[in-house]
Symmetry: C2
Subunit: 452 residues, 2 copies
Amino acid sequence: MRIKLFTLLLIMSVSGYARNEDSVKIRAIANEILLHGKAYENLRVLTKQIGARLTGSPQTYKAEAWGQKALQQAGADRVITQSCLVPHWIRGGKEEAWIVGKKNQPLDILALGNSMGTGAKGIQAPVLLVNSFEELEQKKASVKGKIVFYNYKFNDTYVRTFEAYRDAVGYRAQGPGQAARYGAVGVLIRSMSHAADNNPHTGSTRYNDSFPKIPAAALGLQDADRLAALLEKEPATVFLKTNGKMLPDTVAHNIIGEITGSEFPEQIITVGGHLDSWDPAEGAHDDGSGCVQSIEVIRVLKAIGYKPKRTIRAVLFANEENGLRGGSKYAEEARTKKEKHIFALESDAGGFTPRGFGVTMSPELLNKLRSWLPLLEPYGITEISNGGGGSDIGPLNRELGTPLAGLQPDSQRYFDIHHARSDVFETVNKRELELGAVSMAALIYLVDKYGL
Amino acid sequence: MRIKLFTLLLIMSVSGYARNEDSVKIRAIANEILLHGKAYENLRVLTKQIGARLTGSPQTYKAEAWGQKALQQAGADRVITQSCLVPHWIRGGKEEAWIVGKKNQPLDILALGNSMGTGAKGIQAPVLLVNSFEELEQKKASVKGKIVFYNYKFNDTYVRTFEAYRDAVGYRAQGPGQAARYGAVGVLIRSMSHAADNNPHTGSTRYNDSFPKIPAAALGLQDADRLAALLEKEPATVFLKTNGKMLPDTVAHNIIGEITGSEFPEQIITVGGHLDSWDPAEGAHDDGSGCVQSIEVIRVLKAIGYKPKRTIRAVLFANEENGLRGGSKYAEEARTKKEKHIFALESDAGGFTPRGFGVTMSPELLNKLRSWLPLLEPYGITEISNGGGGSDIGPLNRELGTPLAGLQPDSQRYFDIHHARSDVFETVNKRELELGAVSMAALIYLVDKYGL
């Protein structure tokens, strides 16, 4: 009995000691980032000096060069690139739309990503308002020759705004394909947003190859409300001119900065974000933030003198927005080279104040992560929940079974700016961005130390 | 034994039923606010049509009239006012400062609230840099005739930014008094902020009546860094002109909207914010947000048809910023009229996304509130911690022992805008403001239903 008690006390004391050591290490991570962080300045350069970086645009390659340099400056032992073929969509010039009348009423639009343009003369057609796919089905006999206007509302009662996005995004992704099936000549969608302003929000659409690739554009909420109110009263015709075009595939690169593990170099831990962004803004939250936070993880581990046992990779993924080719390539190489990926973490939900991690892993691993919550809570992480990860690391899980986590920042402001002109550097708060990096670095440190 | 088990099951079932009923009621509160909330539009009117409302300014009375109307429109059974004598400080016109040189280098300043001006000609004096009160003591022999520049830094390693504020605010509050003791002719302080911009942050100071009331002003962080860097190299002289003046006390009012309790009307539950603000901005977060959220609590309870058992009062307090006379008056009346105040809640930490409540109450009551956490968590409240309340409700606790709570929104952005020109409507996010109101209304509902 006395021996058992002694053993128990020893275990408790060792575990308490380890906990305390971790707490001190994470405090060092936080102090380094909050006092000497480079994430905010890196983001300023990426957004203000390079700007929008739609896959295939000249800025793609400027951003790749910037990323390599930033990772070297952060102290990566080596920086490598992985090339992949990527789709090359271009917006193709000035877009215009208006409600036709004695006095035309302009509509502020953004063509959906991957959508085909109207041709130089534009199109003009009566508008059919539908509030849902069900209503489209009911009205399918009236669709031919029309511009279908999907006015499906973002559900503001979802406190976690990504639930509202998941609920609504089908109208952007499948709306044009569904409308084309019934003979529509174009599509307008209400933006996936609850912003108080009138900015349209773009994002990729996916045609149904059996039907014509009709033009499609997003409206801001004020214009959507105005057009819907008009259509409730009387028929309306809209003129639409967009210029989208798919060029031949081109090449882009994942940019990877690595700290080689000291004990288990073959075990790889990935932390990343995506380097591409939509073209109308600076991609500050989506996903410049995730990129600079991932670089910061490398920088802070070096800066505090932590030597990881396992190999830590910060990855700036190519082409998340309209192809996911970077993430697919990363998993493909991992499989081909028989790499051992023990964990991947993505930040692609904005550079806002951190609140939790969402994970895709076994219940046992989830519990292991949850046992670390007391170490993360002082930095704002109050929840580790089942479900989550990130688009770019998804293929790692699907192909290799790698456990995933995604940073979950506060989501209230994200869909104000997501894929809209307003996703600019000025909307990112330095400390919120930094605290996200703190939580990410702390989790990477714990996974490295204890394994998964 | 069987009877005991039966009783236990009955209790569990009733408690489960009550929990479920509460959950449904709080969901109704959230839906009403997120779909039909008036807080954001109320805030727009208060900030954009009325604007800054320093105690005693003409806007004080416009804001009071607005508040009465807004509470009536929210459905208050009655709206009453409480008048109190308030200090009447005025900034008194254009302020100027520069580092004297061949080419003067301008400094962007804001005189501290309640500070006395320099006189029409301004003052010009060598600057003594001190980084702390300890350094002032060490250098006290050199203070006479100087402008003392307190360059105490906001501690960015505090994740909860109010801790950094509490740590630093003494330099604003007591700095001028301490410097005057040793013969200083003026004071400059580094603003209590970690903002990346150069906005100075004002706030009240309190002189030591035994010494001269010397002029005092705040510098933004960029100017503070520039001046400190210069002083590390060489002596510098600064010109300072401020125009602050204390006029005779005047009258302002607490604005109170009430729903009379149906069962225990004598038991009063208070929810409030303060109506006054500093003069350079719109007082959007500080504390327009708390005012419109408190009004929203009244509105939503009426809108969902909830009839409180106890009397609920939304209070827009007068003169928090430079006198606290409104809060003092409210407690004084409560004591004089022998009112029974069972609970008071304040929102005065910004209209940001809610994270918790901080409370001042017995451990038993704290535990009672914590037992409600599962009902509040879906709306972002993950913590109820010991310590907190609000300046305006503080006197209720000190004089009557009333249990207090304060809404604790995410604090990362607060000191970017606190008491600075940047505290404007545009920095408030509609959903964050609304979720704060949801949490407040939910807590008031629970306190009303179960008592404290």
